[in-house]
């Protein structure tokens, strides 16, 4: 299994992501944002950080990086693509995921552990979880407030594309449990075919007991399981 972690100028979770993918046995390589030709990768991951200083809008400048054209092609051919935090913002700006992430309703940079409910296990990144499982993971972002119009929200809900939703530790939906004001408490969502996942929480920082949670392991384990069962 060969996983590419895409580094943009200003990415800062790329090493965490590298380690996380390595932990489940992947051969991991960094991909510089100027790289063309992504042949031979089984999955691509866009890390968190502040690509291009978040200038203009978070992810707006990263999405015109030379590497993005191939990432879009890879995703359109069904390749698994995971965007975490800034990676999620870039995927939205690039049009691989609908909607947009705007300033947190609190106006604060939110850095803390939160809980999410697993709502969709039919993706290459969540198949090892159970529907209804509650995960604890860190968030660290200033612009994670998911914004979409009512029509798009209805579509996302009807198609079961909300993968993770912010909840309290006992699984209740509430305003307090929603750390950034996201519409419908959306913490993570997939594209129509399910191979592209964007999420604000950081599973790559919840990989070892000593870090406080191992609830993120399932994201990477799911990918490993899915790729090993794919007959090419």
């Amino acid at each position: 299994m060969r996983v590419g972690v895409v580094t943009f100028p200003g990415s800062n979770c790329d090493y965490d992501l590298y380690k996380a993918a390595q932990q489940i046995g992947a051969k991991v390589e960094f991909i510089w944002h100027r790289q063309k030709n992504l042949d031979g990768y089984d999955a691509l991951m866009l890390p968190g950080g502040f690509s291009y200083g978040d200038y203009l809008r978070a992810g707006a400048i990263a999405r015109i990086s030379p590497v993005m054209e191939d990432i879009i092609g890879f995703a359109e051919n069904g390749g698994p693509v995971l965007g975490i935090c800034n990676g999620f913002q870039i995927l939205c700006e690039a049009g691989l995921l609908p909607g947009s992430l705007v300033r947190n309703a609190s106006l604060r940079f939110e850095s803390k552990d939160i809980h999410v409910l697993v709502e969709q296990t039919d993706t290459p990144f969540t198949s090892e979880y159970q529907k209804g499982q509650i995960l604890r993971m860190p968030i660290a972002h200033g612009e994670g407030n998911y914004e979409a119009d009512d029509q798009l929200l209805e579509e996302l809900e009807a198609e079961g594309r909300v993968v993770f939703r912010y909840v309290s530790s006992d699984g209740e939906l509430s305003e307090e449990a929603n750390p950034n004001g996201s519409k419908n408490s959306i913490a993570g969502l997939s594209n129509k075919s399910g191979n592209v996942l964007g999420m604000m929480p950081h599973p790559e920082r919840a990989m070892e007991e000593i870090l406080g949670s191992i609830d993120g392991v399932g994201v990477f384990l799911s990918l490993a399981t899915n790729l090993s069962t794919v007959v090419l």
Partner: protein
């Protein structure tokens, strides 16, 4: 070719929660401007460009907005020409 200075206003779409505007609204009210009804915060982008005529300049700036400067999910934009004579250096 003529020189144009374009002013591009990028504004949060109506109905979209604008927490920054809300915070400023609160600040203005606490400073005594209690009649303040609403505050919305956007950004102004100034672009100097060379174009055949003002229509072309406007079209170019609008294309820039659609491509990158504004996010259609959350923002509206307005384009106008503020200078079309000598290059102004700040």
């Amino acid at each position: 070719m003529n020189h144009f200075r374009m002013e591009i206003l990028v504004k949060p779409r109506p109905g979209l929660l604008d927490p920054q505007g809300k915070a400023i609204h609160h600040a203005l009210r606490s400073l005594g401007w209690s009649d303040t009804q609403d505050v919305r915060v956007g950004k102004a982008i100034y672009i100097d460009l060379e174009a055949e005529d003002s229509d072309t300049a406007l079209q170019t700036a609008q294309a820039m907005c659609r491509k990158i400067l504004a996010n259609p999910v959350t923002e509206d934009f307005e384009v106008s020409i503020v200078e079309n004579t000598e290059r102004i250096t700040a």
